[in-house]
């Protein structure tokens, strides 16, 4: 029989909150999409460029969405579909943070993070941990973003070419750190060949695909580079497991 806490966690009320949470994020996305498109036209950008970016974004988001889809299993199994929907659609989303918060909440309440071990008080503590742990991101992002462009002005110093070089360097730093932590460090520390293989194969496929698209003069091909690189990389990693 379904425990009482699970009925509360998966009832109409919780699903309604889920749609409210996702709806607010979608509303903001819709507003920004409309404004970006409108001011893109005002900037004199080509309609086709903007359309291409929409298509590319859908295709690129597909891979990470599949990852989230699979990753949220733990949350669905432990806390029910509605809570997973609330937290993953527009909570903080990072499955790692959600699991840390869920574990912190269940530990504080003295229950286990399983269907059998959970209780109503445990569920409530988990939800408080998730909310209090993530609200700072929303508030800091929401309140302080208006002052962040000053940082960009400071870096670019009014020179678009300088800004382009800095942006590329920053992207390399951000993704390089993740690439090293998840691809290279496990190989050096634990001899884990599979994640390293996946990362390197994906890197090579991405570079090869992008160069090929430039050579063929078919920029539309670039829309698929990430999806192809991830699939080939994951297949290679799985073979080396």
């Amino acid at each position: 029989m379904e425990p009482e806490w699970l009925k509360q966690a998966t009832g109409f009320g919780m699903w309604f909150i889920g749609f409210l949470t996702a709806g607010n994020a979608l509303l903001l996305s819709f507003v920004i999409y409309r404004k970006a498109y409108r001011y893109g036209r005002k900037l004199g950008m080509k309609e086709q460029s903007m359309k291409d970016s929409v298509k590319a974004s859908y295709i690129t988001a597909l891979g990470p969405c599949l990852g989230i889809f699979v990753g949220m299993t733990v949350l669905v199994i432990a806390l029910g579909g509605a809570v997973a929907f609330i937290r993953e659609s527009a909570g903080v989303g990072s499955i790692m943070f959600e699991l840390i918060a869920a574990r912190a909440g269940s530990e504080a309440a003295g229950v286990q993070l399983t269907r059998e071990g959970m209780s109503a008080t445990g569920l409530s503590t988990v939800l408080w941990a998730m909310a209090t742990g993530s609200v700072a991101w929303v508030l800091i992002g929401g309140v302080f973003t208006r002052w962040l462009p000053k940082l960009k002005d400071l870096m670019g110093q009014g020179n678009p070419k300088q800004m382009a070089v800095i942006s590329a360097a920053i992207m390399l730093a951000a993704f390089g750190r993740l690439f090293i932590s998840d691809g290279i460090v496990p190989l050096i520390r634990k001899g884990a060949v599979a994640p390293f293989t996946g990362a390197i194969v994906a890197l090579v496929v991405a570079i090869g695909w992008l160069l090929w698209a430039d050579k063929l003069r078919k920029p539309a091909m670039k829309e698929y580079f990430l999806l192809i690189a991830i699939i080939v990389g994951m297949a290679a990693a799985q073979m080396m497991r």
Partner: protein, 240 residues
Amino acid sequence: MSEKEERFHGMSSLPDAQKEAIIKNEYCAEVHTWGLVLSLIHAVIIFLPPLFLLFVYGIFPGWATVGKAFASVAAIAGPYWFIEPVSYFLILGVGGTYISFLAGNISNMRLPVSAVAQEVAGVREGSPEGEIIGGIGISVSQVMLTVAVLAGAIVVTLIIDALPKSVKGAFDFLLPCLWGAIFGQFALRAPQYAIVVLIVGIPLVMFAGLPTWTLIPLMVFGLAVLAIILFKNGIWVPKK
């Protein structure tokens, strides 16, 4: 048309000063208003699940237990509350930052989507056009995310059971593959900096013994400062 011109085919021909003025005075002004209002509303919405249990079912663990749980989460997430908005802003742009910090999944989804959208649209990162395309891309990713998560919440258990073990296992490697591919994309743009990142980053991540949360700002701002210094001295400046 040269290869460089072809790569940046999506750039507008308006003067830079005019483009900056449109973005700063018009686009950003409107986005800031919406971003602030909807973020504040979201800060309230985030508390609805525990408040729902409290007011409808009378379930509350007590402030001491909530405080204990919060302290555990804050000890891990606390530094990221401040570091992430500052570190990622230059990549996400104004519109992208509001969505990203309201709805999450930044490094695994927003950054790659923003980068690929700008690549395909043929615009430079950090430019006014990059701000527009980044905003469009990240908005679109939210639609995809909502659909995927809703589907996941409803059918994930069934699908997971039906998937072959080998396919399921391959998703363990999604993140390293994602990072590798995007690193490759930008290594093409600035190969010298890619080498610097690897030479400096591997010992820094492995042996410096620094807390994990310090690595992102250290590397991002370290590389930004290096790029400014080298650019000012005419080193590693792109020809066009």
